[in-house]
């Protein structure tokens, strides 16, 4: 795998068994994502983008093909190995935020560090990330006391606290109004540009997809075309 590539997918297929019927969710997907790239995957319902998200996130194994994520071959990995991979290599942002309701925002972020066995305080730069996300004063609140936009920003903080190789976002603005959607998308783009965080975002919204460097369109389990946006990946602008 090219050193610049964080993700390389070749001939990826996924077949689900529903009753007596085989459902071909992915029918041979090829996709490369460079380190520091922000890729949007767009497509209608049933196009296979969520299945792609689940496979790239190590949540379900592929049926065939090759998936190299940060040098790890997902097809060859056991369930336990994929679980371990998710600890540090992959960050998730979900449509429904999926914060633990009994924990504060701070603890929701900390539990990701706990699971990844990161001891001690988060690195000092992470406080800057929290400021960038605008949640530094909301950390002691539980999810029910936060707005949808704030919850999603906490979820983003949780997704990147372990410095994952790739942040996978599944419809991150699907439950948000326009203003909060723009805020979250702008933050994702800022994180990508400032921290060189690789992001792969699933969306059905073309406006949201335009926040990425590249838009990958899917239909019927295949990538039908790829479009570069006006944005280009930048050199990382590290925090002082």
């Amino acid at each position: 795998m090219n050193d610049a590539l964080i993700l390389s997918v070749r001939g990826l297929r996924k077949v689900y068994r529903v009753g007596d019927v085989d459902v071909n969710a992915l029918r041979g997907v090829d996709l490369d994502v460079k380190r520091g790239e922000f890729v949007s995957v767009i497509g209608p319902s049933g196009s296979g983008k969520s299945t792609l998200f689940n496979i790239l996130g190590g949540l379900t194994p592929p049926t065939s093909g090759t998936v190299l994520l940060d040098g790890n071959d997902l097809l060859a990995m056991s369930d336990r190995q994929r679980t371990n991979l998710r600890k540090r290599t992959i960050g998730f942002v979900f449509q429904k935020y999926n914060l633990l309701p009994t924990l504060t925002a701070r603890d929701n972020i900390e539990i990701a560090r706990y699971i990844a066995r990161h001891d001690g305080e988060p690195d000092p730069h992470f406080n800057d990330v929290l400021k960038l996300l605008g949640i530094e004063n909301r950390l002691d609140h539980k999810p029910r006391a936060l707005s949808g936009g704030e919850q999603q920003r906490v979820a983003i903080a949780r997704g990147i606290v372990n410095h994952p190789a790739i942040l996978l976002a599944d419809e991150p603005t699907g439950n948000l109004d326009t203003e909060n959607s723009n805020t979250v998308l702008t933050l994702l783009r800022d994180l990508n540009q400032r921290l060189n965080q690789t992001i792969l975002m699933i969306t059905h919204n073309p406006e949201a997809a335009a926040f990425g460097h590249r838009i990958v369109s899917m239909r019927d389990g295949r990538i039908v075309h790829t479009t570069a946006t006006e944005l280009t990946p930048k050199q990382p602008e590290l925090f002082p």
């Binding site: 949540l59 679980t83 371990n84 600890k87 999926n98 914060l99 633990l100 990701a112 699971i115 949780r158």
Partner: protein, 335 residues
């Protein structure tokens, strides 16, 4: 539940012991066939002067006891004679009875029945005026004149028990042996010390088995409640477990988190249960009639806590293990 039930059984026995010791007697004489908690038939109170003539006997006084309901009874006493033996009654309010239809009650009975000096209660199909409320620890909870109770229960001239005070408690066994050798072999004659030592869980027929059954029921009910609660809690938290799995938590870690949470819940539940025994005691003392007394049983606290912990952990382990093995995608899509 367990602590309250054990507390009630022990409380009743301890109260019985305290009241028996408050009599001030050294020997108790009961009719043939009497048991620890039942006094059998009455016998002639002419035994009292007979007993008083025996060597080393300082004084004797009789009592008649009549049941008035579940765990409640009324005791007939010759109060001046009894006070000579036990020492004077300390009245919290009012005075000793002076008329035939007057009654004195102890503070527990007064509290449970909301009585005070001057109140009226109905007992033995009659209305009685409470002439005084005395400090608990004197043989009985409800006392009326002996002659009046003998008359009302057709036991004229009879008593059910005679308390004997000796010139020196060291002579107790010698006097018991003497009495048995001199025409009272069939009577139950015991030292008060012996009698009170018999008031234990092990010596009351079936009480030990009763407590064992209650505890076993408590364990089974507690286990099922905890098991079903945990099962429901785990189902409700399927999505949370999916999040943990997505974040890379192994099944062992998820189970570990669930069991630790269960342990904290069980310990908090146990502490709450212990605190509730105080509430239960207050409720029993305030509202329960029939002379129920609930003791606080600290020696059972670790046992009850252990039972709660084991039940909760076993109840949580199965659904917890099942949840920890769930497919993360299925768990995340759980509504």
């Amino acid at each position: 539940m367990i602590l309250t039930l054990v507390g009630v059984s022990r409380g009743l026995l301890q109260d019985q012991i305290r009241r028996s010791r408050g009599i001030g007697a050294d020997i108790i004489v009961r009719a043939p066939g009497s048991a620890i908690l039942s006094l059998g038939a009455g016998f002639s109170q002419n035994f009292i002067p007979y007993l008083e003539k025996q060597p080393h006997v300082a004084m004797a006084t009789g009592a008649l006891i009549q049941g008035t309901g579940f765990l409640s009874s009324v005791t007939g006493l010759d109060l001046p004679e009894f006070e000579k033996m036990s020492g004077p009654f300390r009245f919290i309010s009012g005075r000793a009875f002076e008329k035939p239809d007057e009654v004195v009650v102890d503070e527990y009975y007064a509290q449970q029945h909301n009585l005070h000096a001057g109140s009226y209660i109905t007992m033995l199909n009659r209305r009685w005026r409470v002439s005084g409320v005395y400090e608990s620890g004197k043989l009985a909870r409800v006392i009326i004149p002996l002659a009046r109770l003998q008359d009302l229960t057709s036991n004229t001239g009879k008593v059910m028990v005679v308390y004997v005070k000796l010139d020196n408690p060291a002579n107790t066994q010698q006097v018991i042996d003497y009495l048995k050798a001199h025409g009272m072999a069939d009577y139950k004659i015991d030292s008060m010390e012996e009698l009170t030592s018999e008031y234990s869980v092990n010596n009351v027929p079936m009480l030990r088995q009763f407590i064992a059954v209650v505890v076993a029921l408590g364990v089974v009910v507690g286990f099922l409640v905890v098991f079903l609660s945990m099962y429901t809690a785990v189902l409700e938290r399927t999505r949370e477990i999916g999040v943990l799995k997505a974040l890379g938590a192994s099944p062992a870690l998820i189970l570990n988190i669930l069991l630790r949470e269960t342990t904290v819940l069980a310990l908090m539940g146990s502490i709450t249960g212990i605190l509730f025994t105080y509430v239960a005691r207050w409720l029993i003392m305030t509202y329960a009639t029939g002379g129920l007394i609930q003791a606080i049983v600290p020696d059972w606290w670790p046992i009850a806590t252990g039972l709660a912990l084991v039940g909760a952990l076993l109840g949580a382990a199965w659904p917890g293990a099942k949840a920890a093995r769930q497919d993360p995608i299925e768990a995340l899509s759980y509504e």
